[in-house]
């Protein structure tokens, strides 16, 4: 604050890092002109826990439990991507049944995550009744996840070489029951979200991300699809059981016949992905083969194989928020030599800047929430040791990453 009497535009509004909107800390600095956002900057990094560093000191089976805790909403995606990378390095073949169980869990997770997001979006719009509705129906998915895995969050389903728990015949009717409940709800959710006059007014043509911008910023997942980019790792690079199934990337024109890349389109994509996941689970239940659920149930044997493994690989998965990518390099040692995690929000966060420019201050929460941001998986160290500076330019970062790659190649 300056002592001057008159304050000239633009003025700066800092928000965060602790703020009531998102559940995670992030610091925004808005440059405002009246009610309008002229520019925005943000500083993540508050929840950085150094997971990759810790992982490189643990063995792959221990890392699987660490990957569960990269993000509490995506309890499966990171462990799946990591396990797939390690399986490729160690040339482990996953039994077909395990692949189907992985797919079913992945889709159940998408359903609960999108419902969670729908509730958060409704809350940001000031529509708390809808928040309560979405989260109440989400509890049914959580119950099923708990029935299958024993946990509501951080399910610990994945093991390298397969899954840790089978889906028993008694559970299948329960799964079907849930799917039909959700099918019945779908129309209601679409009706409330898409035909409500105030939601339409607040979301149509706000927070636009053009297809060009989406490509330039390399956004992924529903954020990219809502801007008209046909990408979905499940279709583009099938893995687990996805190769056997019928899946089409969901773009908003399926419902409205047009693509505008606004908040409304992002709501459409996520809401339509819930029935898509239901359909995928049904296909899986119909085609699921019998057999083993894990390549090697004895941990000691598994660890011995992993200790001998040499090579590098990338594991990918289409998380509810978009592609996650794990790069693993193993050199015949107890722990991986390199482990790199690229979470989906990492690619999506930068799209806040073009989306927020020119918008009203009251629309900031819903636009920020519209990409379904998650910071616990994304935060990097913000201060680089030895440089004496806290801000790095693109060129600095590029130089540092080239140096690091060289170091790793030696």
């Amino acid at each position: 604050m300056t002592g001057e009497k008159t304050k000239t535009v633009p003025y700066t509004v800092p928000v965060g890092p602790i703020h009531p909107a998102l559940k995670e800390p992030v610091m925004f600095t808005f440059t405002m002109e009246g009610e309008q956002v002229r520019d925005v900057d943000f500083a993540p990094g508050q929840t950085h826990r150094g997971i990759e560093w810790m992982g490189m000191r643990r063995n792959p089976v221990q890392i699987v439990h660490l990957t569960d805790r990269i993000c509490g909403i995506c309890g499966l995606v990171h462990s799946l991507a990591f396990a797939r990378a390690v399986e490729q390095v160690a040339e482990i073949e996953v039994p077909a049944r395990a692949d189907y169980i992985r797919t079913i869990m992945g889709e159940l997770e998408r359903i609960q995550s999108h419902l969670l997001w729908a509730g958060v979006a409704a809350h940001e719009l000031g529509f708390d009744t809808l928040l309560y509705l979405s989260w109440r129906v989400r509890e049914q998915a959580m119950d099923l996840i708990e029935l299958i895995s024993g946990n509501r969050v951080n399910y610990a389903m994945i093991q390298i070489g397969g899954v840790r728990r089978d889906i028993t015949p008694e559970q299948i009717p329960k799964i079907r029951e849930l799917l039909s409940t959700y099918k019945g709800l779908q129309e209601k959710l679409l009706q409330i979200f898409l035909r409500d006059a105030s939601i339409t007014l607040r979301c149509r043509d706000h927070g636009i991300l053009s297809p060009q911008m989406a490509r330039d910023l390399c956004v992924v997942g529903p954020t990219a699809r809502a801007s008209g980019i046909r990408m979905d790792v499940r279709v583009d690079y099938p893995y687990a059981a996805y190769g056997d199934l019928e899946i089409e990337p969901i773009l908003p024109d399926r419902l409205t016949g047009e693509i505008r890349g606004d908040v409304y389109d992002r709501i459409i994509v996520r809401l339509l992905e819930i029935p898509q996941s239901i359909d995928i689970i049904e296909q899986c239940l119909a085609a699921m083969p019998e057999g083993n659920i894990i390549w090697e149930p004895k941990l000691a044997k598994l660890l011995l194989t992993l200790k001998k493994a040499k090579g590098e690989a990338v594991g990918r998965h289409e998380a509810p928020r978009g592609e996650v990518l794990h790069y693993v390099r193993m050199d015949g040692k107890e722990s991986p030599t390199t482990w790199k995690v690229k979470a989906s929000s990492y690619s999506n966060l930068m799209s806040w800047i073009p989306m927020l420019r020119g918008e009203q201050i009251a629309d900031i929460p819903i636009i920020v929430a519209s990409i379904d941001p998650c910071l616990s998986c994304t935060d990097r160290v913000a201060i680089v040791r030895g440089t004496g500076r806290s801000i790095m330019t693109k060129e600095d970062l590029h130089r540092l990453s080239v140096e690091k790659t060289r170091r790793l190649q030696r």
């Binding site: 890092p17 602790i18 009531p20 559940k23 995670e24 800390p25 990094g45 508050q46 929840t47 950085h48 826990r49 150094g50 997971i51 560093w53 810790m54 000191r57 439990h65 660490l66 805790r69 990269i70 993000c71 509490g72 909403i73 309890g75 969670l116 309560y132 989260w135 109440r136 989400r138 509890e139 959580m142 509501r152 969050v153 951080n154 998650c374 616990s376 160290v381 913000a382």
Partner: protein
Amino acid sequence: MKPTPSFNRSLWVFHLNSGSCNGCEIEIVATLMPRYDPERFGIKLVGSPKHADVILVTGPVTKKMADRVKRTYEQVPDPKVVMCIGTCGESGGVFYDSYSLAGPIDDVIPVDVYVSGCPPRPEAIIHGVVKALAKLERLEAAP
């Protein structure tokens, strides 16, 4: 300071993420939803620490958040209760050997109630709040 009777009838909680994995936040929000409906006991999530009676701290306290956790704690008016939700706030949990931790939480601010679990179930969180109430009642009964 002694808590007043109205204080323990209606607890307003503020949630503070000190670097958690999100699992505990999700369970806290799930606790506040219609299935468990703690609002019937007057438990309500508020947007500012200045309105709160209880702060729920989740996560292992990263170095970057340590000072902010302290400052938020100071902003909560007395009498207050601090609840640590989740194993990683108790001991570091899976992140115990990380280079970027300043916590567990009780290294940074004093904690009254610990709720274990990674993440704890909503029932456990409600149980923790009941414990917090009991503690406040004890405080009140003391001369």
